[in-house]
Amino acid sequence: MTVNQLTDDEVIDKVLGGNSDSFSILVDRYKDHSFTLAFNVMKDEKEAEDIAQEAFIKAYKNLKKFNRESKFSTWLYRITFNTALTANKKKKKYSSTSFDDSPIELIDSTKNELEQAEKKKFILQALDQLNEQDNVALTLFYLKEQSLEEICEVTGMSLSTLKVRLHRARKRMAIVLNDILKEEALNL
């Protein structure tokens, strides 16, 4: 059995048994989603990376307390979400996000990378219209790894609330993205 075939529970058992290096399997497995959650809340790569790292460290320190009633990923995303919320509150005290101040400067990037960076910028701009809970719910919904029930666990919403807010958020995103894309097309 290769390392990648181990289930999360088996990896956790290894870590708790003293093989802390095995924790890197979980980091590799969930770093993208954890980072995406943090990035969509913070809208800053450096801060998002710090928060995702912090979330993994908190998970490592509290691994013994993880009761395994939910998936490890659900538990980790909840930690990431709470860490990002706390950091964002502190950040908002001192500054406000401005997308116009952060132009995309990828000197050595290919056209494809530039296009992708532009698209990411539009998504962030649109996500900025949502509150943090809706933002995270929507991110998890599109990442497609978590069920609606698991998204409820991460965000602390009830299932009925989540469904209503997801619909509202998707509608809002469609309108905002449509406006942004139209504006961009006019500017070309």
Partner: protein, 172 residues
Amino acid sequence: MENMNISDEELLDFIDGNSSSSEKKKIENILENDADLNERVKMFSKSEGLLKNEIKSSPSRNFTAMVMDRVTALKNPYHKGGIAIWILTLISVMACSYFLTDITLNINLDFIDQYIPELPIIDTPTDIKVDQPFNMLLISKVLLYGMLFIALMLLDKTVLRPYFKNRQMTHH
């Protein structure tokens, strides 16, 4: 945003592929003649496509290494269980030193007298007493063993562990 009796919720279910066959047929029929509804479907589809494909981001390449560095740092002897090991080791060293000190004091050195020439007796005042508040022998032994222990710990942490870890990584 809502026209022709088709709500946005219904439209999103249609785009997700979650609408019933009758609902699907109904929307498809309306779409054939309704430009407005076509526009709404296009708008939702564009946004859904963008979000589904582009929402995922990735951290820097050395992200895992950075997290694991921090995990390794958590295991250093100054943390949690490590502190207990330090205290236990210190107690052991002190107890061991005390034991050794006792043995040293009980050694019979009388046989040395035959090799030492007799020296003239000099009158010395007998009422002078030198008080030693600390057992200097014990303290010096504790320090000696303590330093030896620290040296071994440093050797383990700075040379041996990185060496064996590198060797393990190379073999994997």
